[in-house]
C-alpha cells in the first residue's frame, strides 16, 4: 500500500547518503517535502482505462470539462465510441468521475453513460515497528515491537460507455426515456488528447 512507499521516500529524504547527492534543503523545506510526499501517498489513487469500439467520425479535440454524463439514458442520435472505466482506491465517486470524463474525452466523446458503479473490498496486512518505554524510573529504556494490523482497502469502479453526440442534442428529457445531462457540473479535468484505440492513465 502507499504508506511504505512514503516511508521509503521519507527515509531517502532524511538519509542523503542514499540519494548519492546532497539535497540543499533547510529543515523547514525538508519537513514540507516529507509532508507533501506523505499526503500524496495517503490520498486516494485514481486510474482510468478505455477501449475504442468505434472510431469517431472526426478527430475533434474534446476537453474533459465538456463531457456530459448520465447514469440513466443516452440522448437520441448519439454514436457509441467505446468502453470506459475509472476506479479509485480508498476514494469515492467524486474521485473516479473526473477520470471517467477524462477517458470519455480521450476517445473523442462528449457524452458518457455510466452503466455500473461497484465497490469491492480487499484486506491486507500492514506491519510497523513501534517503540515504547519499558524501563524503570531509575533506568529508563526504550524497547521496540512489531505490530501487524489487518486493514481493508475499498476500490470503487465506474464502468460505462463513451458517446459522441454530434448532431444529437441533449434535451432536458426525463427518465427513463431520457436523462437531463448538463454541463454545469462543478468538475474540471485536464485537457484530453486525441483518441487512440486503447489507453490508460494513472493519477496519484
Amino acid at each position: 500500500m502507499p504508506q511504505p512507499l512514503a516511508l521509503s521516500v521519507e527515509r531517502h529524504l532524511l538519509n542523503r547518503a542514499n540519494l548519492g547527492f546532497r539535497l540543499p534543503l533547510t529543515g523547514f523545506a525538508r519537513f514540507g517535502a516529507i509532508l507533501l510526499v506523505t499526503l500524496a501517498a495517503c490520498g486516494p489513487s485514481v486510474e482510468g482505462h478505455s477501449v475504442a469500439t468505434h472510431t469517431a467520425i472526426d478527430a475533434k479535440h474534446i476537453d474533459a470539462s465538456q463531457v456530459r454524463l448520465s447514469a440513466v439514458s443516452v440522448p437520441e442520435g448519439a454514436s457509441e465510441l467505446g468502453i470506459v472505466q475509472a476506479h479509485t482506491v480508498q476514494g469515492s465517486i467524486e474521485d473516479a468521475v473526473p477520470e471517467f470524463r477524462n477517458q470519455v474525452a480521450q476517445l473523442g466523446g462528449d457524452f458518457g453513460k455510466i452503466d455500473n458503479v461497484a465497490t469491492k473490498f480487499e484486506t491486507y496486512t500492514q506491519t510497523r515497528t513501534e517503540s515504547y518505554s519499558c524501563g524503570t524510573v531509575n533506568s529508563p529504556r526504550t524497547c521496540t515491537r512489531t505490530v501487524t494490523e489487518t486493514r481493508e482497502a475499498e476500490t470503487t469502479r465506474i464502468i460505462g460507455k463513451a458517446y459522441r453526440l454530434g448532431g444529437a442534442t441533449a434535451t432536458a428529457s426525463k427518465a427513463p426515456g431520457g436523462a437531463a445531462p448538463r454541463s454545469d457540473v462543478p468538475l474540471t479535468a485536464p485537457p484530453a488528447t486525441p483518441s487512440s484505440p486503447e489507453r490508460a492513465s494513472k493519477a496519484p
Binding site: L69, V97, V117, F121, T123, E154, K174, A175, A180, P181
Partner: protein
C-alpha cells in the same frame, strides 16, 4: 464505584462513536431544493420511475460500526434530500468487513 461507572459509560460512548458515514455526490443534472421529506429507495433492477429528472450519482460509505445496510441507506437518503431528490434508483450496496458502500442515482420530480 462512581469512577467505574463513569469509565463504563465513557467506554460505551467510545464504542458508539467508532463508526462514521461519509456521503458523496456527482451532479449530472440540476439539483432541486433540499427537503426533509421521505426518499424512496429502488434497488438494483427496479425500474426507474417515469417522469423523474436525473440529478446525479450519490454514494454513502459506512466505516466501523456504521458499515451496515441501515447506515448506508440512511446516508444515501440524507444526500438525496440535500440535492432535492425524492427517489434514489438502482441502489447497490457492497459490503466489506469494516466498510460498506452504497451507490444510486438521485432523481427528483
Amino acid at each position: 464505584m462512581k469512577a467505574k461507572s463513569v469509565g463504563f459509560f465513557s467506554y460505551c460512548l467510545l464504542l458508539a462513536a467508532c463508526g462514521t458515514t461519509t456521503t458523496h455526490s456527482v451532479l449530472t443534472g440540476a439539483p432541486g431544493r433540499p427537503h426533509a421529506g421521505d426518499v424512496g429507495i429502488l434497488m438494483g433492477d427496479d425500474a426507474v420511475p417515469a417522469g423523474m429528472t436525473e440529478v446525479g450519482l450519490v454514494q454513502a460509505i459506512g466505516h466501523g460500526t456504521n458499515a451496515d445496510l441501515e447506515h448506508v441507506v440512511d446516508g444515501l437518503k440524507e444526500k438525496a434530500r440535500e440535492l432535492g431528490c425524492t427517489v434514489v434508483a438502482k441502489v447497490k450496496v457492497d459490503q466489506g468487513s469494516s466498510t460498506a458502500s452504497g451507490t444510486g442515482i438521485c432523481l427528483r420530480p
